[in-house]
Assembly symmetry: C2
Homo-oligomer: 331 residues x 2
């Protein structure tokens, strides 16, 4: 282990930023240098006493004192601009998760990081992230086969937001739930063709405003294009108190299943399954970010630069243990 | 994709060698150059017509015509000597699986491969192999937690051999079976301390010789130190015909489960599970070997040399797809 700890900066202090702060505590070879925010730093209540808080504009000043910046903003708004800005000054890790825009984001981060000679790990987390790794290993090891990804049971932020935009809705939350019958067919190697509706259910818990037309709300949700109309959707009306009491955690998870065939007749079946059951989506995601911060630090020390995804980074780079230790203890 | 296919040689043609031969067919960017055997090549019956068969001593002649040699011998006898010999001439992949001797084997392969400027991927398969990767990711991402590995249901070659050495036993096979109650406790995040007996059962199907004392056989098996005495062992007596009809497949599999905790109070639970259900242990193992042959070929082309384990090799190295394709399709 190096004597010098890896100095981490956090940019953005929402659920993810807080998760990163807590995850760093679990890694003895790292220390939190400070938190950078667009809000008033004075107002920021951190989980740890004595950690420095800065305005995001001050970050450049600490260019030589921070080994890796973990960018905890959202893909939709923050990262697109913030990502390349930070990659031009720091090694970075982020959780950019707008799948369709990853190629474009990769290019802009790669450009910025090559210019600065830094390493930028993008789209780190569990999907994209650990799930991507498992999709890739599954396909590479069993080229003849099918890959299935199921999400849930878990809260979808996007779908929860969509519910809350419906007229007469005061508050609400949406759970994505994998259809068990479909998961079981896949696990049994049936290789089914599954429609969107057959793979996932959507369950909504809605707080209606006083006097709102609940039947109308339910219909509007169920028929909402893109978000709900292609799914079997269940709507429950509950009170604000129930929502707070029973639905304030952010669980998530899911499965990546590779169903493959080998042999002379291509009839020997194999099922590879990777599954996550997470009590807190942001806390798990931030734990992944922190492990990749270690990898980024090492890759940069080894002279690499540019953007990387989880697919480009060898597993051992994530571990605080030496190669010899890993071979002895984990191989 | 490169125009030139990756030319693979197979050393040793048992179940694993045959599996490699079949797995190469599933990968368009590879071709089988030939099979090298210590037996009489004339007598070797390959699954594919027209593939060249050679004596293992002839291998050196083809030094420049083979990109990667996949070593399909066993760890106990063949690989210890054969490994370094081949690594001094070729890029290699092997499935060395004597866990306790991996550090020593790594050193000797690393030395040979550095001298020759080749790359040697050692201990590739599913355990060591895919399971090792998952143990490592689990620990790195969730540093506070416990890792559990369960094997089975599957045939253990070592335990089957042990049964067959018992006096009065004509033939036999042993299945390692994870104890479901233990697996479920782990899956529910109980983090139990599990004894050897609590984790796995051993089920034996035994063909006794005519007139043998079955009660004595059963006692001898159940009390055999190291192999059975620490386990709950079930012994069934069957006929040779039943053994052939019902027990000639080589299924295997198992689970790696990481149970971890995060959060300010370290009380947010996460369960990460990787599971394999394999209808044929050798066919799956050889599919993993072939995917890593691609990685070895590329690492060598990129100027690397020395021994590598699955932990040292980035996921993307295994895939025939380009980085851009992977980011678009799988990330």
């Amino acid at each position: 282990m190096a004597d010098q700890k890896i100095r981490i900066g956090i940019v953005g202090y929402g659920n993810l930023g807080k998760g990163v702060e807590l995850a760093i505590r679990q890694n003895d070879d790292m220390e939190l240098f400070g938190v950078f925010t667009r809000r008033d730093p004075e107002q920021l209540q951190l989980a740890t006493d004595g950690i420095s808080k800065y305005r995001v504009e001050e970050a450049e000043t600490f260019k030589d004192q921070i080994d890796v910046m973990i960018l905890c903003g959202g893909s939709a708004t923050d990262l697109k601009e913030q990502g390349p800005q930070f990659a031009s000054l720091f090694n970075t890790v982020d959780s950019f998760d707008t799948h369709a825009k990853i190629p474009e984001y990769f290019e802009s981060m790669d450009h910025a990081a090559r210019e600065s000679g830094k390493v930028a790990a993008i789209s780190v987390g569990w999907d994209p992230g650990m799930f991507s790794i498992n999709r890739m290993y599954g396909e590479a090891v069993l080229p003849q086969g099918k890959t299935y990804t199921f999400w849930g049971k878990g809260v979808s932020q996007g779908h929860s937001d969509a519910i809350r935009r419906v007229k007469g809705v005061k508050n609400g939350i949406q759970y994505t739930i994998p259809v068990e019958a479909a998961v079981n067919r896949v696990r049994h190697g049936e290789d089914p063709e599954l429609s969107t509706r057959e793979k996932h259910l959507r369950e909504c818990f809605v707080v209606a405003e006083d006097g709102a037309d609940k039947a109308a709300i339910e219909q509007e949700i169920k028929n909402m294009p893109n978000y709900f109309s292609d799914y079997d959707t269940v709507v429950h009306f509950i009170t604000e108190d129930q929502l707070k009491a029973d639905h304030s955690a952010m669980p998530h998870g899911g499965f990546v299943i590779r169903s493959g065939k080998t042999g002379a007749q291509q009839d020997t079946k194999h099922i590879v399954e990777y599954s996550l059951k997470l009590e807190s989506n942001p806390e798990f995601t931030s734990s992944v970010l922190v492990a990749y911060a270690r990898a980024v630090y090492r890759l940069h020390k080894a002279g690499e630069s540019g953007a990387k995804t989880v697919l480009d980074i060898a597993p051992a780079m994530l571990s605080a243990k030496s190669g010899a230790q890993l071979r002895k203890e984990l191989l």
